[in-house]
Every structure is written in C-alpha cells, then in structure tokens.
Symmetry: C2
Subunit: 403 residues, 2 copies
C-alpha cells in the first residue's frame, strides 16, 4: 500500500548532518536551517501523476511530498490551488507574450503564509507540540495563530508595532498571546529566542522551523501542475525571508527528479526587494553567497522588511543556479504600481506583489526579459490586508441627491 | 458540438412574461426581478457529469448552466470552488453529527460577492455594456468595481458612509467612481435609480440585474458536487438581499431536473438575519409571502443591513418550499460568536457568517436541528474585511525584553 508521505529525514544543506523526522528540530548544530528529504526513489515507482486528477484542489493533493505522515494530523482550512491569472492588458503594455500572476490572496488568511502555517502546524501537531512562538511582520503571525487555534495549539506572537494593523487583529481573533515590539522583525526574533529558551516553547521562526518551507514549496508544485508541467521562463517573487523562493526551487528540483517536468530548464528565479531593504539584491550585485544585515530598513511592502534572512545563502543559490537575478524597487514606484495593476487588471494585490510588476517593467526595459518569455509573478497576498496603502476620497451625498 | 452555454431566455417568476437573453434587461414590466432559464432538456442528453472531472476549480466549470454564451467574454479572477470545512470542535460542542462551513472568504475579493460580479460583469461585457451603476453595503460594490476594471467597464458605486471602510478602499483601488451617502443602502438605491435614468448607465442593483443570481447559484452547484451529489439536511445563509439563498435553491432545482442529485429531499434552507434588521424573519413568523420595509435598521453584520429586499418573495418561497425557517440574532451574540468560532476553529469569519453559528445554536436548543442532521453554514466572507469588529490589545515591548 502506498504511504501517505514519503518523507525520509531532515538534513543540513551546509554540513550535511541528518536528523530524524519524528522529533522536533530547529537549526542544525552548525547554525544552518534544515531541509526535508523524501524517498523519491520509492515514490517514483508507486506514485502516478494521474492520481492527482481526482484530488481536492488544496495543497494536500501533494501529500506524498509533504512531511506529515498521518492524514489525521492534517490541519487544513482549504489552502492551495490558487489561480494563475492571465494579465493580458499588462502583457500588452509591457510587450510580453505571456504574463501571468499566481494569486495567493485566495487563501484562508489572505496571504501565502497560509501554506507554511498549514504544513508547519500540521507537523507540530504530529510531533505533539503544544505551544509555539514566533516573530513576524504580520501575515505569518496571523496565519500561524489561526492554524494553531484550529489545532488547539497555543501561540505566542511578537510583531513590530508598525506591522499592518489587520494582521494584529487576526492574531487577536485567533486568541494568540500577542505582543508588539518597538523595533523590527529582527528585534522580535531576539525576544522570541530568549522566551523559547525560558519557557520551552517550540520556535517556529522563519527557517528555524523546517516545515514551513515544505508548505511554501507547494506553490512550485501547483505552478507545474497548473501549467501542464511546462514551467514559465521567469518567475518573480517578493523576497523577505525568501522561504517561498527557496521552496519553489526545491519543488522544481523534486519534480525534475521524479521526471514530471516537461521543460528542460529551470525558470530564472527573480528575487524582488524594496530599495530601502535590499540585502539580497546587494549581495547579488556583488556576486556574494550571503547577505549583510541591512541597517534601518523600512518599506510600505511590510512583508519584505527583513534586514537579514537566515536562508539568504539558499535564496542566492537558487538565483545563481537558475540564471535569475535580484531587483530592488522604491516605495513610491511600488505604491504607484499597486494602483496601476489594480485598475488595469482588477486584481487588488498587496504592495509586495506590486513590486514584482515594477521589476518586470524594469527587466523588460533592460531586455533581461524578452518579448517571447513567459513570465509569472507570484502575488503573495490581498491588497485589503494593507488598506492604509490606498486613499479613498469620495463625495458624501444626501439621500435625495443624484450623481 | 455541445454549446458553451445552454441559456435560453429570461422569464418573470410573477407574471411569466419572457425576455431575450441577447439584450440588456432589468426588471419585468410588472416590477418583478427576472430569472434565467436554460434548455435543460438539450443539456440533459449532451452533458455528462463526468465532464466536470478535468475542469479547473472555478465556478466556470458549470459554464453550460451559466448565462455567458461565449467563453471569450468570461471575466475571471479564479473565483469559485471554495472549500467546505469540517467544524469538528463546534459540532461536538453543539452535539451535531456533521457541521461544515463553506468558506466564501477564499475568493478574489474576500467575499461571496465575487461570484455575482464575475458572472454579471461577464454577461455585461457580452452585451456590450460600457458603464454600470449600483448601490451597495460595501462588498458587492468592491467586487463589481474590481471585475468591471478587469473588463474595462466604468463603474459608479454609491454606498452608505457607515459601510466597512475596507470596501471603500477596494472601490477606490479599482478606479471606480465612488460616492457615499448619509443613509442606508435603500437611499443609495434611490440615488442610483435617478442617476441611471439621467445618464443611461446599466443598473446592476441586486436583482434589478438578472445575472448576479446566476453567479451566486454556483454555490449550490459546488455544495452538490463537493458532497458527491448528496445534499446536507440544513443550509444556513445570512440574508440581506437574499440572492445567494435564492440562487442556491435555483441551483438545486436545476440539478434535480438534470437528475444529478442523489438525495431525495431539498435541504431545509434557513435565512439568518440580525435582530435590528429582520424583515424576512418577521414575514416568516407571520406566514407572509413578502416582507415590510424595516425602519431604522442597523447591525454590525453590515452586509445584511437590507431593510427591504426586492426578492423577498423568492426568499420566503425557498424557505416555505424546503421546510426551512428564518432566525434573527442580536449584534452582541453575533460578535461574541465571531470570536468564539475564530478561536475554536481558526476560521476568521465575518459577522454575517458568525450569525449562522448562533442560529445553529438556537435551532439545536429548540430541537429544530436534530443531532443526526448534517448542517452546512455558508460563511459569506473574511473577517479581515471588518477589522473594527475585533479588539487587539497587546503589550508593547522594547527590543531587549523577554515575554
């Protein structure tokens, strides 16, 4: 009988040390994030692509390639299989043959963070974890506290006071133990690090917890399946912690190993950052394999306000290996692009997603993107999570008025 | 070759007069809303249930039973096939065998209004309409203005000043011509009525436009398909204009006529309203077939603040024909239930959706719902569209602190 999951073990991408999948782990003893390995050889024989056909449109359709061993531990709110939308008017404007957007707004918490939370919380439940703690720029904390509530797991969340107010409300609604910090996500991270030490909670910070990336990876699986296993030429991704980009890259490698991908090449992966917080872009420009802490970072695209990502070396590896690049866009352009994309295509995207279209514009002008390229932008969440980015001026009428 | 749509004509449910599907129509000359008819006999022969199997998870999988004749006119942002979630902890608490929630939060505009807008705007495009106008309590205006933007159709939106601020932002982001009114949706409706007369815009007010209901109807199709064509015993729906409830009822009747439904009975349909705006509940209590205007209506569940629905007689017919009922819940209970459902199940639902769970509670206590009933609540949108309903108190830490 085929297994529900073909997960095998955790391994360190830096020092290659391995760890068991059956007990809680954070970082490798060498300080690196851990990645999840699967027994792809066994899977290859037993698993049929066609078995996907009758499965529900959630990320759990890929359960063989996810780390949760028993179906009963799944904590789901219907996440995954978000649509890939043609952006025809923008494609024409930018002179690109095929421009699409995968819209992660259509998820239980309105952002792609639902994926990591669904898989991370499910695995935490499987491992018997009762309390989790994390720093967040807002959306991840919202997603993890809501999924934790569904799993009856207690969550302790620390976010910057400047994080989007809506995400604060989500944590409160979920009944999380919510705290704010006068500082950045890196400051929140230090508070969490000290607190987990003190109380013995499980630390689910970005990449300190190994399974969030497995959830994000499903974006890659879906892109492949939805495009009939032919990958786009270019994928752009708004990069803060970079877990989604690392995950998509990991997904494509796994699918290639399974022989499911019909394209011969990896898509060129593009990390897009804000000009006021661009450590990955700076490292890329200098040809480095890791980034430096970015002092006094700030941006309206709050989700990518990450001054130093723990997985920076993995993001840069994915960029270099695929012939991709890294681009920074300033806030004024991001907010202008958000309005333009929404008015043109009707898709009310978040500022992080808007940065991608400015990047496409720039890369097209530089001829790095060619007219015949197929280009996919990964919009990470809904615009309504950032109402403060939109002005809504309107006249106030009396009941007897006419327009 | 099978047709893309088997739409036949429009008809009046009051006086039976028919109208062409190929030109714009609003109400019947008798003042009643118009409904859409399909050539189900032709469809029955050619259409196979199994053809759904390989279609994308959007509401357009039911295109044969939708009014858009040509695929090229479809204006889509990936709407439909929202998940039906088990609510296990609440089911146990309420002593119900099977309690589920269809979550319409997972849609392009965060509410079920996406469905009506997608089908309504697509049909408007097919009919060559260039400018639309509508009154709204917020979510419908947001959805229609975003879909209109995608279709390059100009939208004129009038909403109460008290409507949720997020929906105002959505209209502005879409580039709609947005106006506020010091009054209720009924006042906004009168302003729109005068304005469409003056400028010749197409009036897409609830049920004055015949195709919104066809979009909403797909919730019924999905419930049937997702539950393997076995319908639940009870479906609860938050009722303002009531289009969703009418639509679900219409969907089940069409599927029964096609012979696809395996259940012998219709689900009992329950209209849930707020106590401070309960015209349908009042009419139901008195056994009437239409409702009276509800003066000075107000509720935190803003989407159901509709003092008099144009389709009230259709809602009441659906309730009576299915052996359903109508229940009113006060605001304090609605907001308490919203917090309880979110903390218990992790689903951050809107106040309108929360009212349903209070209604289940009440109907279970009254033994109207039996322990063996399968009960489905239709949550119409995301809680994040109403951030003002949640308090988020949190301590503010300094970077050096510990929890």
């Amino acid at each position: 009988m085929p297994a529900y999951s073909y997960v095998s073990h955790l391994y360190c991408p830096k020092c290659s040390k391995t760890y068991s999948i059956n007990e809680p782990h954070n970082l490798c003893v060498c300080g690196s994030p851990l990645l999840t390995a699967y027994d792809l050889d066994s899977l290859n024989v037993q698993y049929q692509k066609s078995s996907l056909r009758d499965r529900a449109p959630t990320l759990w359709r890929y359960h063989e390639l996810l780390p949760v061993k028993k179906e009963e531990n799944i904590v789901s709110m219907g996440e995954g299989m978000t649509p890939i939308l043609p952006m025809k008017k923008l494609a024409e404007e930018l002179d690109i043959k095929q421009l699409t957007m995968k819209d992660e707004g259509l998820t239980p918490t309105g952002s792609f963070k639902s994926r990591g939370a669904a898989v991370g919380v499910s695995k935490a439940k499987e491992l018997g974890i009762k309390e989790i703690a994390m720093p967040t720029n807002g959306n991840a904390g919202a997603a993890w506290s809501l999924y934790a509530a569904r799993a009856s797991i207690t969550s302790h969340i620390v976010m910057p006071v400047d994080a989007p107010i809506v995400t604060r409300k989500e944590c409160a609604a979920a009944g999380a133990d919510l705290h704010l910090v006068n500082g950045l996500i890196s400051d929140a991270g230090k508070i969490v690090a000290r607190s987990v030490e003190k109380y013995g909670w499980f630390d689910v910070s970005t990449l300190k917890e190994p399974y969030r990336i497995e959830g994000k990876k499903t974006m890659g699986f879906e892109i492949a399946e939805q495009l009939q296993w032919k990958l786009p030429d270019v994928i752009l991704y708004p990069t803060g912690g970079g877990v989604g980009l690392i995950g998509i890259y990991k997904a494509f490698k796994e699918l290639m190993e399974l022989g499911w991908i019909l394209s011969s090449k990896m898509p060129r992966l593009v990390a897009v950052q804000a000009e006021e917080c661009a450590p990955i872009v700076e490292a890329y420009k200098q040809g480095k394999t890791s980034s430096e802490f970015w002092p006094e970072s700030r941006t309206a695209a709050f989700g990518i306000n990450v001054p130093k990502a723990l997985g920076d070396f993995l993001v840069l590896e994915a960029i270099y290996e695929t012939g991709g690049c890294a681009v920074a866009i300033d806030d004024a352009r991001i907010l202008k692009e958000q309005r333009h994309v929404t008015r043109t295509e009707g898709t009310f995207i978040c500022p992080e997603g808007a940065a991608l279209f400015s990047a496409v514009r720039e890369l097209r002008e530089d001829r790095w993107i060619k007219p015949n390229d197929s280009v996919l932008c990964l919009n990470t969440g809904m615009g309504i999570k950032y109402p403060e980015t939109i002005e809504a001026n309107a006249s106030v009428l009396k009941p007897g008025d006419t327009l």
